[in-house]
C-alpha cells in the first residue's frame, strides 16, 4: 500500500494502491484512507480485483462519498472518490 499525492480529476489526490488485494482489503484500506481525509478531498484507488468494480461503488454509496470516475484498463481499475460529509 502506498499513499502519495498525485493529480486527479478535480485537483490533488491521495493515491492508494490495492493491486493484488482481494475483498475485503480494497474496501477496508479505502475506508481507512477516506477516514483520514477532509470532506471534498480526493482519493484515487487502484485495484486489480474484479469484484472491486461493484465493491468500490457500493462503498461510496453506503458511506455517502462521491464516485467521481472509474477508469477501466487491462485488468486494472482506477477509482477517483471525493470524500463526502461523513466520517
Amino acid at each position: 500500500m502506498s499513499t502519495a499525492p498525485i493529480t486527479a480529476p478535480g485537483g490533488e489526490a491521495t493515491h492508494l494502491n490495492c493491486s493484488g488485494l482481494l475483498c475485503p482489503l480494497p474496501v477496508y484500506k479505502a475506508g481507512l484512507a477516506l477516514g483520514r481525509l477532509a470532506p471534498g478531498e480526493l482519493l484515487v484507488v487502484t485495484t486489480t480485483d474484479p469484484g472491486a468494480l461493484e465493491d468500490i461503488p457500493a462503498m461510496t454509496r453506503q458511506r455517502g462519498d462521491e464516485l467521481v470516475s472509474v477508469d477501466r484498463q487491462e485488468g486494472i481499475q482506477v477509482f477517483t472518490i471525493r470524500k463526502g460529509q461523513g466520517r
Partner: protein, 168 residues
C-alpha cells in the same frame, strides 16, 4: 469487561446502519466470513457486532484463535479432496489446514488473529456467548481482551436495531 449496551456515535446525529452476525463455527474456513463481513461493514460506515457462540467461541479463545483448523472429513469442498475414509487418517486435518493457510497467504489475506485486530481497531463489537462459556468451561481469562460476555437477550437487544443480521 462492560455490559453490552446499544451504542450510538454521539458525533453524528444520523443513525448508522448496523450489521449483527452470529458466528457459530470454529473452523478456520468458517471464521473468515464473519471477519470479512464485519470489517467491510465498518468500512462502509456501519456499526458491526459479532456474537460468538458454540464452536464459534474458539475464535475468541486466546489459546485457540490462532490454531483453528480446516476439517478434512465430511468436507467435500475442502482444500484437499479426500474420500471420508481417508479424511479421518492422522494428519489429514493438519494437511487441509496447511493448504488453506497457504491459499490465504498467497492471496495476501489477513490471518484470523490479524482480522480480529483489524476489526477491534475499527470498533466491531465482540460478544462472547455466556452459555457456551458455561457449558464448555471457558472462563473470562481464556478470552482475548475486548469481548463482552453476553447472553441471547443482550445480543437480540443489539440485533433488534440491526439492518442486516446473519447466522454463520
Amino acid at each position: 469487561m462492560t455490559q453490552p449496551t446499544i451504542d450510538r456515535d454521539p458525533a453524528t446525529t444520523a443513525r448508522r446502519k448496523r450489521l449483527a452476525i452470529v458466528a457459530s463455527k470454529g473452523t478456520l474456513d468458517q471464521a473468515y466470513p464473519p471477519m470479512i463481513l464485519a470489517s467491510t461493514a465498518v468500512s462502509l460506515g456501519w456499526e458491526a457486532g459479532i456474537y460468538f457462540t458454540f464452536y464459534g467461541l474458539d475464535i475468541l479463545h486466546s489459546e485457540r484463535f490462532d490454531k483453528l483448523k480446516v476439517a478434512s472429513l465430511a468436507n467435500p469442498a475442502g482444500p484437499i479432496q479426500l474420500p471420508n475414509a481417508l479424511g479421518a487418517i492422522p494428519g489429514a486435518t493438519a494437511a487441509a489446514t496447511r493448504v488453506m493457510k497457504r491459499w490465504m497467504a498467497d492471496a495476501r489475506m489477513p490471518t484470523i488473529p490479524e482480522f480480529i485486530e483489524m476489526t477491534q481497531e475499527l470498533g466491531v463489537r465482540f460478544f462472547a456467548c455466556a452459555t457456551t462459556m458455561g457449558v464448555m468451561g471457558v472462563t473470562e481469562e481464556d478470552l482475548i481482551p475486548g469481548a463482552d460476555i453476553a447472553g441471547a437477550a443482550a445480543f437480540l437487544d443489539y440485533a433488534a436495531d440491526a439492518d442486516v443480521s446473519l447466522f454463520i
